[in-house]
Amino acid sequence: MRQDFYLAWRHLRHYRIRSLVLIACLSLMGALPIAMHVLLDQGESKLLARARATPLVVGARASGLDLTLNALYFGNPDLPRTTMAEFDRVDDSSWALALPIYSRFVVKGQPLVGITLDYLDYRQLTVDQGETLTTLGDAVLGANAATALGLKVGDRLLTTPGNLFDLAGIYPLKLRITGILGRRDNPDDQAIFIDLKTAWIIEGLGHGHEAPVSPGKNGARPATASPVTFTEVTPDNVASFHFHGDPATYPISAVIAVPKDTRASTLLRGRYLDDTQPDQLVVPLEITRHLLDNIFRIRDLFDLVLALVGIATLLALSLVFWLSLRMRREEMRTLFLLGSSRLTLLRLILAESLLLGLASLALGFFWVRLAQQGLNESTLRFFMH
């Protein structure tokens, strides 16, 4: 057999372009469905893990999927908002740990998420560099967000409206990067976290400005232009920042509720059974499973398509192989004349096929590994977009 493999190797090496094309075709044919299944399995596992880590979500009544995607993955920024009153309602129940989230803004492609420090604790997000949020205007970056924005601790990040016509949207505020979070391989890596109050300042509900001019002796204030509004929170002006209106009406996009036990969960869910209420409670695990069911239905269809393409490719490759054997008929005749048996000829062909198969397998394995590594970070983005 050694001689057979030697001759097969020399033949494949001599016709290296043809051999490489065959190997590439075979490896891709095998690797594509496997890579797709790896992608789906990774996606499923990550989606379910995130959903399990977020037992309940309360938000404005709209699509449950949109609410889940917003609370878990900071997507769908246009989701109808709920208010802090709803947070208070969950928090006051003492049935669950309540974590408000305000995920409405996007800065340079990264979600800007208003949270409380409890969120960082609950998600076990630790600050790798710098320190956590301590004052208005502070921001901590997820590991990927830091890389994507090219920012480090001490840098500034200016929030800007998504477009020129977003008049009611983001107020420009220069955020101070105080920390960078450790990598968690979940959507938190993509986010820029700010305190909820900072989010409301960007929303325009709070601001800081120069002190108004003192009234005159007769109590009248001179007619002046509006006082200058600060665009950065500094130790000098932080005291001037204040909010208007009832805090209970301040917007948030969702409340993550972590019930203490099953009973608490049931009681909390019971509160939102009435469809006429403006808010709803969703179970992200159920929503995610429903989403995955749909994805897997598509996967089955895709598998079928891949199988058909695979059969067509196999037929084409068989034709190539057969034509190649026909082209080598003269060579086979020589081998026969030189005393080679039919078995030896068969062994030569088998050795060549085996080498091609092994090389395709190795390359296919490489493609799958490459896909696995490449997909690790982008799997969730793929599913969420």
Binding site: Q3, L7, R10, E330, T334, L338, G339, S341
Partner: protein, 223 residues
């Protein structure tokens, strides 16, 4: 070396109605025989019959004391491997192998032949004899036609056959090279004490052979 008696051979009907008849034919050990004659008179067919590639319809073929006509397929193949050498008209060198591997090829495709260090030593000796020792590692596509011809000769004699069958061994060469190649072939055969049957249309070369059979005159029939 070879004795043929009452030989009759006919290809299947689909391949024509030619019939080769040879009442008697002998070849002595070490003899160099040229077979000439027009195309379609059975020259190459005779080589195939002697080699056991085609079985005769009637008659007997004895080569080196062995009854080729009575051998099984596997015995004929083993006989072909161990006792015969071939030089094909179009040489049939494999372009994906270098010169050395082309010469060693019979050893790589026949489990009956063992590729020992002694064989490799003989390869180097043969290559040196034909003046191509320095080209052993070169692909055959890089060799001239004359060099390729010499490689084919080396391949034919490396197994130390008793008989070499050559079909137009100098067909594609210029006159100078024809004589040179024939000299190389004869010299090599002498060293290996092998007999030769060569089919050739080249009348200039016939004088170099011990005996010439012209199939135009030989006893054969075309129905």
């Amino acid at each position: 070396m070879i004795r043929i008696e009452g030989l009759q051979f006919r290809y299947p009907a689909a391949e024509g109605d030619f019939t080769l008849r040879i009442p008697r034919f002998d070849l002595k050990t070490g003899e160099r025989l040229a077979i000439t004659g027009p195309s379609g008179t059975g020259k190459t067919t005779l080589l195939k019959l002697i080699a056991g590639i085609e079985p005769p319809l009637e008659g007997s073929i004895w080569v080196d004391g062995q009854a080729v006509h009575a051998m099984s397929d596997s015995a004929r193949r083993r006989f072909r491997i161990t006792r015969l050498g071939f030089i094909f008209q179009d040489l049939q060198l494999l372009e994906y192998l270098d010169m050395a591997d082309n010469i060693l090829h019979p050893y790589r495709i026949n489990p009956a032949l063992k590729l020992s260090p002694a064989v490799r030593q003989r390869l180097r000796q043969l290559a040196a004899d034909i003046g191509l020792e320095h080209k052993l590692g070169q692909p055959v596509t890089a060799l001239s036609q004359g060099e390729r011809q010499r490689v084919a000769i080396c391949r034919a004699v490396l197994t130390q056959p008793a008989l070499v069958l050559a079909d137009e061994p100098t067909a594609s060469l210029d006159p100078d090279n024809k004589l040179k190649i024939l000299d190389v072939l004869f010299r090599t055969l002498d060293r290996e004490s092998a007999s030769l049957i060569a089919v050739t249309h080249d009348h200039e070369l016939l004088g170099r052979f011990d005996r010439v059979i012209d199939f135009s005159d030989y006893h054969h029939a075309q129905a």
